[in-house]
Each structure stands twice: as structure tokens, then as C-alpha cells.
Symmetry: none
Subunit: 414 residues, 2 copies
């Protein structure tokens, strides 16, 4: 079973908004065993809508549409859909009553434009939207279904969960599909591919493997399609275990985990607190740690010491270390870590110093030179990175690497 | 002039990632006067790619593709494109040399899989990617152009800015279009619209005004299309001046400025240094200040004090203030600011404390309650915000607001 998603309206085409609806809908459909084979964004003109529907129905039996249902005159989806099916439009009393009630709650009265909004295609099943004014519509014709929903994300989500997904399940009982995603860090796509080559070559033909790389991380996604969901899941477990055995040191999580979330869980489990002493990352590691709800249970605080002066004052880095080795050196990050552990009283610390660029590089220490120290009072691990010239990528990659060093440090000690 | 955008790969179709590339590309094309009429996401199968190209070229002369260019075998875009144009594939020495250099910098050697990645379609103009391993490709055939780029956002952006957009301008010279963007902060879309209503109503018909709102900021983009570029620019200057006169207090910059960049320039001009004392924003303000190259000239450092203990220890906040007023209070942020100014020796400081959620709210101080203090030894401005339940939006909005308070503080004093 496949489906297409159709997004109607100019906001996406001019780059004004990012289409987050489609990803959410695709994920929901996947969980029901329905594979989305195409996502299309078009303008809200009758011609574009008609063509997109013809294209979609040539390939699939299910089209989910969002957008183009508001009261303003550029929203012509509803009229176009009625015409597409050769259906008339009738005033839908129930929708008007609901709208009148909503407006009464806001202390307003309905206008003729609102009555206009309540004319509905005669062949549509009307899907009640309890989160907004425009209802959804379900069009079934010769085994093919088109669904129209408003583009406002929470309205679309309400209609999907309460109306559309149950109707889809009843109309198209389908072949299950299921996924497992392995999250890796610290190794590139092609080297991972080499390490798991035999697993990949021996995958059953109903399981697909995809590599999804992004700034020092690679996600490995296994997708299985078949008739028996529990057997698919068992086979995925087997394949995941084979991959795990090949690259155990690079795997930090599964599914929607993030490195900051995994590190947070590890710290919680091991009852350890953490703090950061950052120079070139300028607070990004702290920000990523605290982006996790509940991080106050293990996160104490951070010192961002950009200047020589603050490295001395807040982190007790001895002037002779800075003088002899420079701010970007193994000696300095170790001293920063010492100072952090002493001044913040945290169990584990991260210290980072580097040259993010574009200025500040020297022949000896070019832009992209980074030192990281991670450890506690008894043990420190250090790492030197030699990264590229993009300030923003260097800072992001360094933050990810530092968080992974914490993960490894906690695992070694546990 | 129109274009289609084609996104290749299963990540978007299964809802694993949100397609943010297309919105960015659409905006860039719009700025060049090219209207995106369709955005399509498809699977990385040869059939889907061929069909999508046929569909696109039936309607438009320009197709921009992203995704499907990595070294692993699920990436078949390149081969399919060669076949589509009936072209052979040859080893591209330059690309392999570049790849070998990148790997050498990482202390690694290339593998046979990497050599494989350097076979390129004979009819493609190779676009050098200085931010990653996979180059872009430009296919021109009978006045129609297809461009293939990697899906990693920063790689795509690099190629668009340095290779693709200049080539598009040279290949498809269009009617001049020019833009001016006014950046505002601190006022909503509809209230700004009311304040500049007469300017908007009297705009010449070749100038369009778009409102682009995003988390506390609204960009006003004026786009002028016509034959005489210098006249268009003069008319835009006139309209910008009219808008400036209506809402001077909300305008912080123009074009690609960011609030952190504008604040940095103001601090440099006024020879002031800055530091931050952050609780709920967890280092984001520091990270945004230091994301600006050269920020070390005015940025000293920051203290992120999540816990009560560190607020006392690093920022000298008196225990009775925390006890009597709570960590999220005007008194506490003022005390944090005092401590910051004393301990870091900076001229101007930002202190923030709040409840980002989802936990930690009380009936008196619900989730989303934030206090900000900005000032120096002589004067402090404070602000209370009551924001929503999204942790991530609350933190981002607060950081923006705090930076704007610095801008206003420096301007008041100057």
C-alpha cells in the first residue's frame, strides 16, 4: 500500500515556511504500513491541483492533501475538488453551527464569508475539526481516496489522529512495514559500510538499509516490508544485532535519540553531575545539554571563558601554561578541566579550547585546531581535532565530539 | 522563469527528517526572480528519478535536485542521471585528488568505495564542493538544466551560493528583480501591518511587500521587478524610508543582519565588553554572541548557573534573595547581573532566569515565566516574559529578546 502527500499553497513554494506537516504525516502512515512514495508541494490554482491529483491517482490509491482551506479567496481547493469529482456544493448546516459556536466563544458574529465557507462538496464525507474552523473532507471514488485537511499543523494532526487514520485503516487493511534506526558517531559512512559489508550483502530482500550521514554522525536505517509484522520485527532484531556486533564502539543510540539525550540518561543512571568549560564552542555544549527537559538533575552549570583573563580568573589556569603552550593546547584544556572540577564541584567536566576561525589561525595551529579534555578528578581523556574552515560546522562538530567523549568516559567507568 | 525542486531519498518520505533544504532553495531562487512552481520528494530509485525529471521538464527549464549522492550503494542518483542523458561515466581525477586531501587531513586513507564515488557522468559540469566529499553536477541539454547537489544542508548551501546561483544567473538572464529586507523585532505582524498600512496601500504595483514572521522577529521584504535596476533601487530606497519613519523603534537591521551581529557591531563601536549569566537559556545567548566571527574583541565570557548552588557561588546571589523571591524573579536576575559585572569585569551584562519547562511550573510562576536583566554598574533594565509551553521556542525567543535589550541599552547610552 502506497500514498502520496500533496501540500497546497504558496508559502512553501516561496520558502516562507518549512513543510513540517508532510514528515509528520509520512511517519504516521509508515507506522500503519503505508509507504509514502511521493510528497508534492504545489500552488493553490485549480490547474495545479487537478494535475497533481491525476498524477497521484495514476500511481496510488490514497492522496492526503493539506492546505488551501481557509476563508480567503486564494483558497480554492474545496471548489476544485468538487469540480474534479463532478459534484455539486451544498450548505453544510452542522459545520455552520459549529463555526457559529466557535465565534460566539470569541465574542464575535459570523459574516457572509463564513457562510460561504460552509458550502461543501456533495460527495465528501465531512470530517469534524474540533481544533479550528475548516473541516476535513474524505472523497472516495472507485477504490481511490483523496483526503483534504487544513494546513495548520495542530488542526491537521487532530484530524489525522481522530478521523483520517482510523478511516484509512478501515478502508485499506495493508501489508505491514517496520523500521529500526541505529545511530552512530565517530566514523564515516564508507568505513562503516566496509565494516558491515557482509551483513548488508546478506540482508533478506525484503529489508532495505539506508545510510543517513550528518556532521560526524551516521544513522543506519533498516526498513522491512512483509505480511507478518512480528516476524519482520524479529528479523530486524537479528540484523540489528549483527550490525551491533560489527561496530559496537560507534553506536550511541536508536531511533530518535540524540547524543545529548543519551549522555543525560547515562549521567542520571550513574548519578553523576556535569559542567562545561568552553572557549571556542562559546556555550553550545551547555546549550545542547540543557536542551533536554529534566537536565537540571545532572547539569550544574558552565563557564564560558573566551578571554585569557577569564581562563585565569574563573578556571584558575596558570599564566605560565597559557604563556608556554598557548590557549589552544592539551595543557590548557587539562588545566581548564582541573579548574572547572574544583570551582563547580561537578563529577565530570568537559573543557574545550580551539580556533573556530575565520581569524586567529597560525601555521602551527591553523583554523580548525581544537583540543578537548573530558574527565573527572582521577582521569582525563584528551583529543585533538583538526577541522575545516567553517566556523559554524567546527563548533557543532566539536560539541558533538565532546558529548561523545563524555558518553565513552561514563561507559568506561561504569 | 520557473523552476522545480526535487528531493531524492527515503528520509523525507518516511518522515525521518523534515525537508528544510527546499524552503531555503526556494527563497534563494525567488530572490533571483525565479518562481518555484513545484517541490517534489521521491525515493532514490532509477524509475522515480527518471519519471520526476520527465514530469519536471514538461513544465519548466530548471530542476534543482538534492540528495542521493553519498558513497554507499543506496545512492543511485548519479548513475541514473548519466543514463537519463545517455552519457557514460569517467573517473574524475580532480574529485579524487580533493577527496584524498580531505581524508589525509583526517589522517585516513581512501578506500575503493571512494574511488567509485569519483566516477562522474561525462556530460556533467562538475561543481567543486569545498564542504564535503560529493561534488555537485550541472547538466545542460537543449536549453534545459538539471542540477544535482548533496542533501547535507551546509553542503547544498555552499554549492548553491558559490556555484549554482551564479551559473543560473549566467544561463537564464531574467528581468531584473531586486529586494530590500527590513528586520524588525519586538512587535507582531498584524500590528506592524497596521502601522505601515498607508505605505503598503500606496506601493507602486511593481513592488511587492511580504511579511516573514519568526519567533519574535518579523522581516519585511520589498521586491521590485522591472527593466531599470537603478530606478528600482531608488524607488525601494524611498519606500524603505517611509516604512522606517513609521516603525523606527522596531527596526534593528537590514538584509542578512542578525540581532547578534548588530549587537556585536554596536559593542565594537562603543568599545564595550559583554558577558552573560544564564540559567534557563543554558548558554544559548553566549553561543549566539560567539557565533559571530571576531566576537572575542567584545565578548569576555559567561557563567551558566543552572543550580541554586552555582548562582550563589559564581554569581554571589545572596541565599535570602533566592529564598524570599525564588530563582525566577526580578530580584534574582538583578543580583545575577550584579555578580556577573563584579566577577567578570565586563562593561555590560545579561542575566536570565526562567522556567523553560516542561516541568518546574507553579500556579504563581507557570512554565514560560522568564526574567531578564540587562545593564551596567549604573543602570539595569528588567523585563518579564510570559511565554508558551515549548521549551525550545521559549529558550530561543528569550535569547533574541535579551540580545535586543542589549541593543536598546547601548543605543540609549550612546
Amino acid at each position: 500500500m502506497t500514498a502520496h502527500i500533496l501540500t497546497i499553497g504558496d508559502e512553501i513554494l516561496i520558502g516562507q515556511i518549512i513543510d513540517s506537516n508532510s514528515a509528520w504525516m509520512a511517519e504516521q502512515l509508515n507506522l500503519k504500513g503505508i509507504q509514502v512514495t511521493k510528497i508534492v508541494s504545489i500552488s493553490d490554482t485549480a490547474e495545479a491541483i487537478r494535475e497533481a491529483l491525476d498524477d497521484a491517482f495514476a500511481k496510488t490509491d490514497l492522496v492526503l492533501m493539506t492546505g488551501g482551506l481557509g476563508p480567503t479567496k486564494d483558497d480554492i481547493t474545496k471548489k476544485t475538488l468538487a469540480e474534479y469529482y463532478g459534484a455539486g456544493m451544498s450548505f453544510h448546516e452542522e459545520t455552520f453551527e459549529r463555526l457559529t459556536k466557535i465565534f460566539a466563544r470569541w465574542g464575535r458574529e459570523t459574516t457572509p464569508a463564513h457562510r460561504e465557507q460552509c458550502f461543501m462538496p456533495d460527495n465528501a464525507k465531512i470530517l469534524t475539526n474540533k481544533t479550528g474552523t475548516a473541516p476535513g473532507m474524505w472523497f472516495a471514488n472507485g477504490g481511490k481516496v483523496a483526503v483534504s485537511m487544513p494546513g495548520v499543523p495542530y488542526e491537521m494532526k487532530y484530524l489525522m489522529e481522530h478521523e483520517v487514520l482510523p478511516l484509512i485503516e478501515a478502508t485499506f487493511p495493508g501489508k505491514p512495514i517496520t523500521h529500526r534506526t541505529i545511530l552512530t558517531i565517530g566514523e564515516g559512512e564508507s568505513r562503516i559500510a566496509r565494516r558491515i559489508q557482509d551483513v548488508e550483502e546478506n540482508l533478506p530482500d525484503y529489508i532495505k538499509l539506508a545510510y543517513l550521514p550528518n556532521l560526524g554522525q551516521v544513522r543506519l536505517r533498516l526498513s522491512a516490508t512483509g505480511n507478518n509484522l512480528s516476524e519482520l520485527k524479529k528479523e530486524l532484531d537479528t540484523q540489528v544485532a549483527l550490525i551491533e556486533a560489527r561496530i559496537p564502539e560507534f553506536i550511541f543510540g536508536y531511533g530518535k535519540d540524540t547524543i545529548e539525550k543519551v549522555v543525560g540518561q547515562l549521567l542520571l543512571e550513574n548519578k553523576k553531575t556535569i559542567g562545561t568549560a568552553e572557549s571556542c564552542t562559546g556555550g553550545l555544549v551547555a546549550h545542547r545539554i540543557t536542551s533536554i527537559p529534566g537536565s537540571s538533575a545532572y547539569y550544574e552549570g558552565s563557564i564560558v571563558a573566551y578571554s585569557f583573563g577569564l581562563k585565569k580568573k574563573l578556571l584558575n589556569v596558570a599564566p605560565e601554561i597559557l604563556k608556554n603552550h598557548g590557549a589552544v593546547s592539551e595543557e590548557t584544556v587539562k588545566a581548564m578541566l582541573d579548574g572547572l572540577l574544583a570551582n563547580l564541584g561537578v563529577d565530570i567536566g568537559i573543557a574545550i579550547s580551539g580556533i573556530a576561525g575565520p581569524g586567529g589561525g597560525t601555521p602551527e595551529k591553523p583554523v580548525g585546531t581544537i583540543w578537548i579534555a573530558v574527565g573527572d578528578k582521577n582521569k582525563m581523556n584528551t583529543l585533538k581535532l583538526q577541522l575545516g574552515k567553517s566556523r559554524s560546522n567546527t563548533v557543532k562538530y566539536t560539541a558533538t565530539k565532546a558529548l561523545d567523549m563524555v558518553r565513552q568516559f561514563v561507559l568506561e567507568k561504569a
